[in-house]
Amino acid sequence: MIKVRAERLNFYYGATRALQDISVAVQPNVVTAFIGPSGCGKSTFLRTLNRMNDIVPGTRVEGRVLIDDADIYAPGVDVVALRRRVGMVFQKSNPFPKSIFENVAYGLRINNMAGSRSELAGRVEESLRQAALWGEVKDRLHESALAISGGQQQRLCIARALAVRPEILLMDEPASALDPIATQRIEELIYDLKQAYTIVIVTHNMQQAARVSDYTAFFWLGRLVEYDRTDKIFTNPAEQLTEDYVTGRFG
C-alpha cells in the first residue's frame, strides 16, 4: 500500500529546475526521511506534497503527486482541503502570537471543526497530549504561546497540526533550531506518532534521519539518488554518492 506517490515530478523556480524527475513512493504509518546537503531540493520536494509552494510566486510543477491515488495537482483540487489532510511543521517554530489554546484551536475554528465549547477544549487537550505537551502547559493554556521554550513551541506547532487530524504530517527540519534534549523529545514524539500518521521528515542531520525514520531518501542536486530502508541506507547504500554522503566524504 502506498500513501504518497510522486511520479516524474519536476519543479521550477522561474527558469531554474529545482527538482528533476523525482519518483518516490511513501508508505503509510512509517517515518520517511529526506536527507541531503543544503539546496539539494529535499525541502522543496516536501513542500510540493501539500502544495505549499503554490504561495511562492514564479514556481511551476510538472508531473504528478498522488495521495491515496488521487493527483493533488489535478485541476479542481481544493488546496485548502488538501492542506488540512497534509499537515506541516516548519523548521523555525512559528506559533501564532496568540494564546497556547488559541494556537491549537485555530485550525479547528477555520475548518469548522470547533463544535461546542467543551468539544473544542477536548480536542485542544487531546492534541496537546498527542504532542506530549499537555502536562507542561495545562495550567497556562491562556498565556501567550511565545512565552514557552523553543522546544515547547515546536511541540505546540505539532499539536496545532495534529488538531485538524491530518493523515500525513510533513516536517521540515523540525528540530534544527533546538537543543539536544528538546530534539530528543521531538524525535521520540515522531516515533510515537507514526502509529497514527504517515510522517515525512526533512533533516540535514543524518543521525536524526537514522534514529527516527524507517525509510530514507537521499537527494542531491535536485535529484533523488537513492531511496531505501533506513538501515540499508546507513549500513550498506547501493549508490556510491549515498555512501560518500553518509560517511561524510562529500565534496
Binding site: E136, Q184, E188, Y191, A210, R211, T235
Partner: protein
Amino acid sequence: MDKAVPHFREELEALLARLLEMGGLAEARVREAVEGLVTRDPALIAKVRDGDEPLNRLHIEIDDRCFRLLALHQPMATDLRAIVAAVKINTDLERVGDLAVNIAQAAGRYATHPPVKKLIDIPQMSDIAQGMLHDALDAFVRRDTRLAQQVLNEDDRLDGLKTQVFRELLTYMLQDPSTVEPALDLILISRHLERIGDHATNIAEDVIFMVSAQDVRHHTAGGA
C-alpha cells in the same frame, strides 16, 4: 516525560535478551555434550554434533542487531560499551557452541572404545565451565563487576583440573597403549572445556570494561 529515548532502550533490551538466550543455549549444549560423553548416548551426542544451527542463527541475528543499533542510534558512553561488549560476547558464545560440537565429536569417537576410566574430573570441569559462563552472562545483565571478578578467579580452578586430567590419563596411556586413542579424546575434551572457561573469562573481562570502562584483560587475568 523523562523517558530518555525509550525506543532505543527497547531495542537495547531486546538485544540483551537475545544474548542471554544464546548464552543459555550454549550452556545447554555444553552440558548435553558432556552428558552424552558420560552416558555414551549416541542420540544425545548426535543432537549436539549436528545441532549447531539455532546458535548460528542467533549469532547472525545478534550481530545484525548490534550493527543496526550502532549505525542508526550512534550510542555513546555506557550504551556504546554495552553494544561493543555484546558484539564480543556474541563471538565468544558462538565459539562455545563450536566447542560443544567438538566435544560431541570427541565423545562420539570415545564411545566406540571401552571406557578408559570412570569420568569424574571432566564432568566437574564441565560444571565449572557452565557455571562460569552462566555467571559471566549474569554479571553482564546485572552489570555486576564483583561477579565478573569471581568468574576470573574460577578460571584457575579449571586450568588446574585440566592439568590433573592430563597427568592422570598420561599414566593410563603409559600402562596400556590401547587406551591411547580414547585417552587422547578425553584430553582433547578437557582442553575444549578449558577453552570454554577462557571464553567465559573473556566475557567477564568485557563486563568489567563495560561497567567501569577499565581494561583488565592483560594484567589481572594474565596468568590464565
